[in-house]
């Protein structure tokens, strides 16, 4: 940031009561209509993911055979008695299955990002702080991971460990989370490294060093918090990518094991009835779309809010 911008900010600080980067950013976020829509969608999704199974009219695997037999041996259409969104061909309530799918998507959204942070932040921080040979080695390592075709590598990992205890954990989901995380941390690592390199040379770090602050404290108290904005944005925008990857894997039959179903596997099942019962595809597709839109808008809004240079661009 240039000095004129910094002094302009100082002037602004004097005019308003106690304001910091985060409060400023929050204010800017609230003024952005798309970001608010995103935030609303994300909060709804999280709520449904956490409480969905309590709200669901039936357990996700319960079959209503009587209704299916009465309805001509096929999936029930939306608006059938007792099943607002209809059922699949086995008489399982679509709404209940969608709500269980929300739980899967929410856990993908967050667990994958935790894996990414746990791998990406330390690697990027070490590379940026130490520089030289450490930096070179770690960045070459990220090059290798980057060259792996992500989705293909995730499939390979998922199949390789499917039969193990680890592969069976959480109905097969844990493996998918870790596989997606392992292939997606590179962006965050590069970003953290870039932030470190840029901030290392700033005057406030020089000042901290001059008064004898330890290296560890400079990294944890000065560098990471100051570089946090872009990292948070990258992580938020990584969420839709993870949700999309999980849905795609589920669509080709990798990941969560039946009778549980992710939105992707619901679409794969519903595809067989696309002519007579298109709702089996449309409802899960709408659910995926809303989740992707929510996190994308929120991520875009956060980027604009945390980077005042882009203010007004939206």
């Amino acid at each position: 940031m240039t000095t004129s911008a910094a002094s302009a900010q100082q002037a602004a600080v004097r005019e308003r009561p106690s304001t910091g980067l985060w409060r400023d950013a929050w204010g800017r976020l609230l003024k952005n209509r798309l970001a608010i829509l995103g935030l609303f969608l994300v909060i709804t999704l999280i709520f449904l993911g956490v409480f969905g199974p309590l709200l669901a009219p039936y357990p996700y695997s319960q079959q209503d055979l009587k209704a299916v037999l009465a309805g001509g041996h096929g999936p029930l259409p939306p608006g059938s008695p007792g099943h607002i969104l209809g059922t699949d061909q086995l008489g399982r309530d679509l709404l209940s299955r969608l709500l269980d799918g929300a739980r899967i998507s929410v856990s993908v959204a967050f667990v994958v990002q935790v894996v990414i942070i746990l791998i990406g932040v330390p690697i990027g921080a070490l590379a940026g702080w130490f520089g030289g040979r450490t930096d070179n080695f770690l960045m070459r390592f990220t090059d290798i991971i980057y060259a792996f075709p992500d989705l293909l590598f995730i499939i390979l990992l998922s199949v390789a460990f499917r039969e193990t205890v680890f592969g069976q954990a959480l109905d097969g989901l844990l493996l998918v989370f870790v596989a997606i995380g392992i292939t997606s941390w590179v962006t965050v690592a590069r970003l953290v490294r870039g932030q470190m390199l840029a901030l290392k040379e700033t005057e406030f770090v020089e000042a901290a060093r001059a008064i004898g602050v330890s290296d560890r404290k400079i990294v944890t108290r000065h560098l990471l918090p100051n570089g946090m904005g872009p990292i948070i944005v990258a992580i938020t925008l990584g969420i839709p990518a993870a949700i999309l990857a999980e849905a795609t894997l589920a669509y080709i039959g990798i990941g969560v094991q039946p009778p549980r179903a992710s939105w992707g596997s619901l679409i794969a099942e519903g595809q067989k009835f696309i002519r007579s019962e298109p709702h089996l595809v449309t409802f899960p597709a709408i659910a995926i779309a809303l989740a992707l839109i929510g996190f994308t808008f929120l991520g875009d809004g956060l980027r604009d809010a945390l980077d005042p240079k882009l203010k007004g661009k939206q």
Binding site: A147, L152, I155, V159, E163, I267, I274, P278, L310, K313
Partner: protein, 305 residues
């Protein structure tokens, strides 16, 4: 520049080496073998097959054998289609996969960039809202959903295009559109943001204050400068399209190589899987170099050393 380029291209070799080792050992960690079938083969037959293909040797020897073959251009036998070499399988399908990827890439660029420019020039008016809505739909619709939608509307409903196959231009349309939907949205968003950034630059104000008319400023100053950062996402986009087409290939029965990837894993067709992973990794790594070079070429401010 030349030495930079040479270093970057040489660096691809150790990357591919690392990718091949990781894939090789991971692949052999998958339980089961290529001979698992509905009807189990007798143990002595399996042992004979293993010996014939060298699968009874220690893993590192198998790897050396594979790498030796790879270096001399022999990708090994396919364990599933036993009368075919992997070279033939890849050779048959790769042209189709690349054709599909490049057509989708061309479509994404030809639609995405003008869509982004159009949005930025009509910032906060209807062109912006229209273009942004299109990119939101593109981002929110996974390619397999878009593929299903296209089939339902244009094949089953209107009967304009066939549901699958690869026999002529009318077969190309739906897979290309399904594959290009997401990159169109990404490129349009990126172009729009970049255009808006350029609009506020001092040199644009200078040009305008010198009395240069609207159209000349837009074409000579804004678009040219705005497209520079867009180039950086084109490499990953092309890589995504070439390597990510396997679902589209499966849905539309396109005879490329992508559709073999999942079956190669589930059937433990080791040599086919290795060949495809290396091919994809090479494509990604090579396109990254191309983009970096292109970037330096179009933006004189960037110099590599």
């Amino acid at each position: 520049m030349i030495s930079y380029l040479a270093r970057r291209i040489l660096w691809i070799i150790p990357v591919l080496f690392a990718v091949s080792i990781i894939t090789f050992f991971l692949m052999h960690a998958v339980p089961g073998g290529p001979w698992d079938a509905e009807k189990r083969l007798p143990a002595n037959v399996q042992a004979r097959l293993n010996a014939q293909y060298g699968l009874d040797k220690p893993l590192y020897e198998q790897y050396i054998q594979w790498a030796g073959g790879f270096v001399t251009g022999d990708l090994g036998p396919s364990y599933r289609s036993r009368d075919r070499r992997v070279n033939d399988i890849i050779g048959d399908g790769i042209a189709v996969t690349f054709q599909l990827g490049i057509m989708a890439f061309a479509l994404s660029v030809v639609v995405g960039i003008p869509l982004g420019i159009f949005a930025a020039l009509g910032h906060n008016r209807w062109p912006d809202y229209l273009s942004t809505s299109i990119s939101i739909i593109g981002i929110a619709t996974p390619s397999f959903v878009l593929a299903i939608l296209l089939i339902v509307v244009f094949s089953i409903g209107l009967g304009w295009f066939p549901t699958g196959g690869w026999k002529g231009p009318q077969y190309w349309v739906l897979p290309t559109v399904a594959l290009a939907g997401f990159p169109i949205a990404v490129i349009a968003r990126y172009t729009r943001a970049s255009m808006l950034e350029v609009t506020r630059k001092d040199y644009i104000r200078t040009a305008q204050s010198k009395g240069i008319g609207g159209r000349a400023v837009v074409s000579r100053h804004m678009i040219r400068n705005a497209l520079i950062p867009v180039v950086t996402i084109l490499g990953p986009t092309l890589a995504f399209l070439v390597t990510g087409s396997f679902i589209i290939e499966t849905i539309f029965s396109v005879p490329g190589i992508g559709r073999f990837y999942v079956s190669a894993i589930s059937q433990r067709d080791y040599s086919l899987l290795m060949a495809m992973t290396i091919l994809y990794a090479f494509t990604v790594a090579f396109l990254n170099v191309v983009v970096d070079v292109l970037y330096a070429y179009i933006d004189p401010r960037i110099r590599y050393s």
